[in-house]
Symmetry: C2
Subunit: 329 residues, 2 copies
Amino acid sequence: MDHLFQLESHKFERGRGRCPFDPSSSFTSILIGGELFTGLYSDYWGRDAALFRTMNRMAHLRTEPDSERLLKEPKFVGSYMIPDNEDHDDNKVYFFFTEKALEAETSTHAIYTRVGRVCANDMGGQRMLVNKWSTFLKTRLVCSVPGRNGIDTHFDELEDVFLLQTRDNKNPVIFGLFNTTSNIFRGYAVCVYHMASVRAAFNGPYAHKEGPEYHWALYEGKVPYPRPGSCASKVNGGLYTTTKDYPDEAVHFARSHPLMYQPIKPVHKRPILVKTDGKYNLKQIAVDRVEAEDGQYDVLFIGTDHRRGYDPEFEKCNTINHIAQGCLN
Amino acid sequence: MDHLFQLESHKFERGRGRCPFDPSSSFTSILIGGELFTGLYSDYWGRDAALFRTMNRMAHLRTEPDSERLLKEPKFVGSYMIPDNEDHDDNKVYFFFTEKALEAETSTHAIYTRVGRVCANDMGGQRMLVNKWSTFLKTRLVCSVPGRNGIDTHFDELEDVFLLQTRDNKNPVIFGLFNTTSNIFRGYAVCVYHMASVRAAFNGPYAHKEGPEYHWALYEGKVPYPRPGSCASKVNGGLYTTTKDYPDEAVHFARSHPLMYQPIKPVHKRPILVKTDGKYNLKQIAVDRVEAEDGQYDVLFIGTDHRRGYDPEFEKCNTINHIAQGCLN
């Protein structure tokens, strides 16, 4: 498939919600059926972070502005459409990002990695959440090493995410490359997630906060119908053909419960790779599944910010030891 | 002062509350005016952790059994008597320990370092807390490096504590040697605390938890008189000569509010020393204040668990490089 781009110099379009003001600010986008889904800071001051859907036939949609419950100083890392089943109306768009954790202890700051999710065909609410996502949910994506006394070492800063497609397009394998949030201890980990774990978290209980003095707890009350976060599709009973027809109660619940209670845990409940030698900053990941004589292997390609000619570490090693190999490994 | 110990083979005393059943279990003790103050696990199974006062004329006292709010799987590190003023009835005993943090996020485990404090002349309550400490308070002792985005790197596992005595016996300088609680990132930090910060935390607001769904918050209600944690002394008005006369309300409040809201922060709000090279496990600290020509220095002596003849790291370095010095530094 050859794509040929050319500049339509006579045509101008408003870029708000489609690309960030500051080209260096964090940004993710995906084009699905002519609709552009983006995660970006849409204003000049870099304060209004939101998930957008713009472009085509469908109504422009975004997350509510100034809602720290939805997105708190996020860094957008990736976005993908992953179908749940054969019904296209049930298609969901997943956003991978980090943000300040609202559910962490009040007196401390923390950054968590999140998976956020919307229905691709979301039309917003009718009386509430007008032109806002009415199906947005998010949860924590955990990448941690189990430790003594139940104290896990967390890698909370998502650097990159890669979807390894399988024969079943509903079940790609998700690879996350994570960094620590500490400026003293630097280390990287790669965690792998199955879609079954992702779906289980979103189909699980909601997190609930009764008031400012309360902590985020398991919501044990009645969940309205249609279940907040589910799409207007035949698979979901076909009772509703658009989220605009969802009962107020369901839209209101979705608005106040964007966070799921259960995080998404990686396969084997630990990373498949941990690097703490501090040699390189790991930035990007790609994965290739190969068949070998003795079975199937996933080959990880991990990119660093290392430029060979300019690495002072490399230079130093080379000068002192005259054994470059020893320093590079 | 030469102390001569000899075994009184004809005399037997009950050791409960004076020394642990298991000699390898964590233990701290200090003898003050014939009274033995201890922190230990007093039972055979190593479950009943408590702070005790035993021995002499005064009533035997302990922390309430089975109260996770007071001590949750503590590791006792040190104990010291530090006077607040000239009134001996106001003398306080400080216990340094680590424990599972009750105020951390509910879904995660965490270990915090604590300073606990009791009045040396505590007599317990009359109707409530009979033969239990009625003046016990504790707070978190923080040793952390400030980081990006307000995310600090914490050293939460206290290994050793040293009190550097100054001319003013009310104001020793406290040196803490800390380890991380992670099994992936190992590192050590030394933090210094002034008694003014310690007293400010104990004279500050109490932490309060309204119920299981709530988080620990700042207590803003009325504090009873005498202020819970204060001693029966002339300095405190002289209205009460024993904690047994304290009003029920004050004893009840002390029982339900053992935790202070504000942690104790180190001098300069950061460690004076951070070691992350992973060469040694640092176990003990002693400090000597010396006068040099260009001013006063605090010399840190830090003990490791390294035994020269048996260190495999040392062996390996020695064999490969023939430069032992390079490996030891």
